[in-house]
């Protein structure tokens, strides 16, 4: 045993953000999605033969744009980007940084796994989904487009890493 605790150790971001925005005068809390049923698929072949895709909430760098937009996009996995735009997303900017793209978009790590034969291949594109207050936008527009891109790229399994 490493230690004993008297309360939950991990941060509740649902509680924390509700209190934070209430302090800003937003008294109606954000209604996070909750489902009782969870869909589940299994691999149709060994991982060593699978093409793996990667989805991120980070945005592509848009240097020079005064008002960068959050977009739904597919971008080449190789060469892996060395910078991504994360400034306008919610993450802990006091405690850490996003200068190492692999800490949230592990394209290089997955390429190494492919080279080592752990996976069949990395998808030629990775996919960006904008964080959106509107869950219906995500469900009706963004998710179906990500699925279409995954099918176009013959992706067998997907890793999703949000900031």
């Amino acid at each position: 045993m490493d230690r004993t605790v008297s309360c939950r150790t991990f941060v509740s971001y649902i509680d924390r953000s509700r209190e934070y925005y209430a302090a800003q005068g937003y008294e109606r809390p954000y209604a996070w999605p909750h489902y009782d049923e969870v869909p589940f698929s299994t691999l149709g072949k060994p991982l060593a033969k699978c093409r793996v895709g990667l989805v991120t909430t980070a945005q592509r760098n848009q240097p020079g744009l005064l008002m960068p937009i959050r977009e739904l996009y597919a971008a080449p996995s190789s060469p892996a980007p060395t910078r991504m735009r994360t400034d306008d997303l919610s993450w802990d900017k006091q405690a850490t940084h996003t200068d190492d793209v692999d800490s949230f978009l592990p394209l290089n790590r997955l390429s190494e796994m492919a080279a080592a034969g752990r996976i069949g291949s990395l998808s030629p594109r990775f996919y960006g989904v904008p964080t959106d207050y509107s869950q219906s936008n995500t469900i009706q527009r963004h998710a179906p487009q990500i699925l279409t891109w995954c099918r176009q790229d013959s992706v067998d399994a997907v890793l999703l890493a949000g900031l």
Partner: protein
Amino acid sequence: MSLVSRHLESNGIPTVVLGSARDIVEECGVARFVFTDFPLGNPCGKPWDVPMQSAIVGMALDLLGRAWMPRTTVQTPFHWDNDDWRDHYMRVDDGNREALARAGEERRRRQAEAKKAH
């Protein structure tokens, strides 16, 4: 992100979510989740720590093949350098309460102006 994962799973593509906001992902409900108890920003390992990143991505890949039912969460064994971030992030206290209230008012004013301009 969890909603996208659910859509892919519903259409036959197995997924695994990597993240640090455990309650948000688990409330939504996803097939597979690799949880790293870090401040938000580095769900795939500490910056520049290649062995840790490889381990976390490796755990996600393992979970793709090994999970046999949905809502399978695996917690990685890694710790941040300290625990200060747990209390600091989005903290509300007497030191910032007034500033937050002003920031909220300012934001609503800007949004109202933008709405008028359209």
